[in-house]
C-alpha cells in the first residue's frame, strides 16, 4: 500500500498517454462485455428450446406460408405427438396519426412498442410449452373468448396490463391487416415461468387464437409455421425427414428442424453470429494488447535511469518488477472498470429506446450485463494489463544498474 502513491504519481506523469491507454483498454472491455452479453442472451434463448419440439416452415422462406391442411397430415406422421399452428402476427400497438383525413387509415404502426406476438392453436400449443405457466381458470377464459389473449408477465408489467384490459394491435404484414382497423384484444390470461427450471424463457410475448386472425381476415389465411411435438427427442432427425418427405412433391415443400435450430436461424440469419462476434472481440483485444504493451514499454524505457536509481537505493529487482506490473494492472483496472460501466450504460440506453422493440422481436427483450460477464470483462482487462506490463517489467528486472545509469 505504501507504494501506491508512488505508482499513482507515475501514472499521472503523462496523463495524455495514461488517459489514452485507459480509453483504449476501456473500448476493448466495452466491446467484450457488450458482445458477450448479446451472445449469452442468444445462447440462453437457444438453450430454452425444447429438444422434443420441431418447427415446420416453408422450404423456401419463412415469408411463405403453409396450407392449413398440412396440420392434420403432420399429425399422422409416426412419432408426432401433437401439432399446433403458430403464425407470427408481427403486430404492434398503433398510434393515432395527427390530422389524418376521415375515412383514410387513421393509425400508423409505433415500432417503439413492438413485442413478439403470435396467433396459435392455443390448446395444443400451450400443452407443448410447460414453461408457460397459465392459471387454469384464466386459460379457460382465454379459450372461451375469440378476442382473448395470453400475455407473459414481463409484457404485462411493461404496459401495466391486467386481466380484462383491452388494447389494439396492427400487423406490418399486409395479409394480416383488416380494413376495419387494428385487431382488438382482451387480456384473459397472464402467464409466468419458472426461471430456475426454464432459464432463458422470455415472457415478453403475447399469444392469441389463430381462429380470430383467420375469421377476421376473411378465412383466406394459411399457417405461418407448425410447431410439432414428438414422442422421442432422439428421433428428431427421422421425424423431420418424414414430415418433409410427405410434402416433397407438393407446391408448398416444407423444411422441418428442431426448435433450437429454427431459433438459431431466426436470430442469426446473416450467418454464424457467435463466430463473427467472438472474432471481432478477439481482434480488438489483441490490438489493444499491442497498443498497451507498446505504451508500457515506452513508459518504462523513459524511466531507465529512475529504475537504476531505485535499485541503487536498495529496491530489489523483484520489487521494481512488481511496481511496473502493478502500474500496468492499474491501467487494466481503470480501463476494465470504465469498459464495464460503459457497456452497462449502453444496454440501459438501448433498453429505454425504440431499438429495444427490434431486439424484442428476436427474443432479446432484456439486455444487461450479468455479474459473470462483468467479472470476466475485468479479468480480461487485468490479463491485458498484466500481459502488456510483463515484458517491460522483465526487462527492468534483468537490467544491470550500471548499464541503465550509462543510458541517457
Amino acid at each position: 500500500m505504501k507504494f501506491l502513491p508512488f505508482i499513482l504519481k507515475h501514472l499521472r506523469r503523462n496523463w495524455v498517454r495514461t488517459g489514452s491507454t485507459v480509453v483504449a483498454m476501456a473500448v476493448c472491455i466495452f466491446l467484450f462485455c457488450t458482445l458477450q452479453t448479446v451472445l449469452r442472451e442468444i445462447n440462453a434463448q437457444l438453450e430454452s428450446a425444447n429438444a422434443a419440439r420441431l418447427v415446420t416452415r416453408h422450404a423456401v422462406s419463412l415469408v411463405f406460408d403453409l396450407p392449413l391442411a398440412y396440420g392434420a397430415r403432420i399429425q399422422a406422421v409416426p412419432g408426432v405427438k401433437s401439432v399446433a399452428n403458430a403464425t407470427w402476427f408481427g403486430g404492434s400497438l398503433p398510434t393515432k396519426k395527427e390530422g389524418k383525413a376521415e375515412g383514410g387509415d387513421s393509425t400508423t404502426t409505433d415500432w417503439s412498442k413492438f413485442f413478439p406476438n403470435m396467433a396459435v392453436d392455443a390448446e395444443p400449443y400451450f400443452a407443448m410449452y410447460p414453461e408457460f405457466q397459465v392459471p387454469p381458470d384464466q386459460f379457460r377464459d382465454f379459450l372461451g373468448d375469440l378476442q382473448g389473449c395470453a400475455i407473459g408477465r414481463k409484457l404485462a408489467d411493461k404496459y401495466d396490463w391486467k386481466i380484462g384490459d383491452r388494447f389494439f394491435l396492427e400487423s406490418f404484414i399486409p395479409p394480416y391487416r383488416k380494413a376495419s382497423g387494428p385487431f382488438e384484444f382482451v387480456v384473459r390470461a397472464i402467464f409466468d415461468t419458472d426461471t430456475g427450471k426454464y432459464p432463458g424463457t422470455d415472457t415478453n410475448v403475447m399469444f392469441f387464437q389463430y381462429k380470430y386472425l383467420y375469421e377476421a381476415t376473411g378465412r383466406t389465411l394459411n399457417a405461418g409455421t407448425y410447431t410439432v411435438e414428438i414422442d422421442d427427442p432422439g428421433q428428431a432427425g427421422a421425424v423431420s425427414k418424414a414430415i418433409d418427405m410427405l410434402f416433397e412433391n407438393s407446391d408448398g415443400q416444407t423444411h422441418t428442424e428442431t426448435e433450437q435450430a429454427f431459433r438459431a436461424g431466426f436470430i442469426a440469419m446473416a450467418g454464424n453470429l457467435a463466430l463473427l462476434l467472438n472474432s471481432i472481440g478477439l481482434a480488438v483485444s489483441f490490438t489493444i494488447l499491442l497498443v498497451t504493451a507498446n505504451t508500457m514499454s515506452m513508459a518504462v524505457r523513459e524511466r531507465r535511469t529512475e529504475i537504476a536509481v531505485l535499485k541503487t537505493l536498495g529496491f530489489s529487482s523483484g520489487r521494481v518488477m512488481g511496481l511496473i506490473l502493478t502500474e500496468a494492472l492499474f491501467l487494466g483496472v481503470l480501463g476494465g472498470g470504465f469498459g464495464v460501466l460503459g457497456s452497462q450504460a449502453l444496454m440501459s440506453v438501448i433498453m429505454n429506446s425504440p431499438a429495444q422493440a427490434m431486439l424484442a422481436g428476436v427474443g432479446l427483450s432484456s439486455l444487461g450485463i450479468k455479474p459473470a460477464v462483468g467479472l470476466l470483462g475485468m479479468a480480461v482487462a487485468l490479463f491485458l494489463g498484466l500481459a502488456a506490463g510483463l515484458v517491460p517489467a522483465l526487462n527492468a528486472y534483468r537490467s544491470r544498474i550500471t548499464d541503465m545509469l550509462r543510458t541517457v
Binding site: V309, L310, S316, L405
Partner: protein
C-alpha cells in the same frame, strides 16, 4: 578494521571477443570516518571502483568488504537490502524522481523499512533540514536549482543513516558557488555525523576538501 576494505580486486569487461581490464589488482583501505577522494583521468576506473564499493557491481576477482560485509558474497536481493541499509549514493546528475516532491524523493529509501508513514515523513524532513532545504520540502525537482537538487539528493542519501556515503562527481554539474556549498555539506556530514565518504572527482579543488586523495590510472591505484 577499515570501513572499506578492497583487496586485490580485478574487474574485466568483455566486449565481443575482447577482454578489457578496468581495474587491475586494486588494494584500498578506508578507515571509519575517513573522507577519501578518488581521482584520475577518464577511463581510469574510478567510477567502476566506486560502484564496487557501493555494491551495484561485482568484482571479477578479489574481495570488497564494506562495513564488515563481503559484498561479492551476497545474493542479488540480499545485496539490495544491504545497499538500502549501509550505502548512501550521490550521483553527478542528482537523479531525483521528477514526479515526486523533495520530501517524497528523500522518503524513497525509507519505503523499504517498516517505519510508519508519519515517522518516514518526519525523518525525511529532518534530513532536508540537515541539508538546509526544509523550506523547499514540497517543491518538485523542476522547481529547484542544480545545487538545491543535489542537496535533496544528499538528504536522500543520508536519510536511512548509512555508514558509508559514495559520491560520483557530486559537483561535476554545478557552478563553483553551488559546488562549494555541496562540498561544505559533505565536510559537515563527515565531521559532525561521522560518515565515511568515498568521492570520485576530476576537480582538484574538490579533492582538496577530502582527508586523503587516491589516484587511479589505467585501472591501477597510484601511491
Amino acid at each position: 578494521m577499515a570501513m572499506v576494505d578492497v583487496q586485490g580486486v580485478r574487474k574485466l569487461y568483455r566486449r565481443d571477443s575482447q577482454e578489457i581490464t578496468v581495474l587491475d589488482g586494486i588494494d584500498l583501505q578506508v578507515p571509519e570516518g575517513e573522507f577519501v577522494a578518488l581521482m584520475g583521468p577518464s577511463g581510469s576506473g574510478k567510477t567502476t571502483l566506486l560502484n564496487l564499493i557501493a555494491g551495484i557491481d561485482r568484482p571479477t576477482s578479489g574481495q570488497v568488504i564494506v562495513a564488515g560485509t563481503d559484498v561479492a558474497q551476497l545474493s542479488e536481493s540480499a545485496l539490495a537490502g544491504w545497499r538500502s541499509r549501509s550505502i548512501g549514493f550521490i550521483f553527478q546528475f542528482y537523479n531525483l524522481i521528477p514526479v515526486l516532491s523533495a520530501t517524497e524523493n528523500v522518503e524513497l529509501p525509507l519505503l523499504l523499512t517498516s517505519l510508519a508513514k508519519k515517522e518516514r515523513r518526519e525523518r525525511a524532513l529532518t534530513a532536508l533540514k540537515v541539508v538546509g532545504l526544509a523550506d523547499r520540502a514540497g517543491h518538485y525537482p523542476r522547481q529547484l536549482s542544480g545545487g538545491q537538487e543535489q542537496r535533496v539528493a544528499i538528504a536522500r542519501a543520508i536519510v536511512a543513516d548509512p555508514k558509508v556515503l559514495v559520491a560520483d562527481e557530486p559537483t561535476g554539474d554545478l557552478d563553483s558557488k553551488s559546488a562549494e556549498e555541496i562540498l561544505g555539506l559533505m565536510e559537515t556530514l563527515n565531521r559532525d555525523f561521522k560518515k565515511t565518504i568515498v568521492m570520485v572527482t576530476h576537480d582538484p579543488r574538490a579533492a582538496q576538501r577530502a582527508h586523503t586523495q587516491k589516484h587511479l590510472d589505467k585501472g591501477v591505484l597510484k601511491a
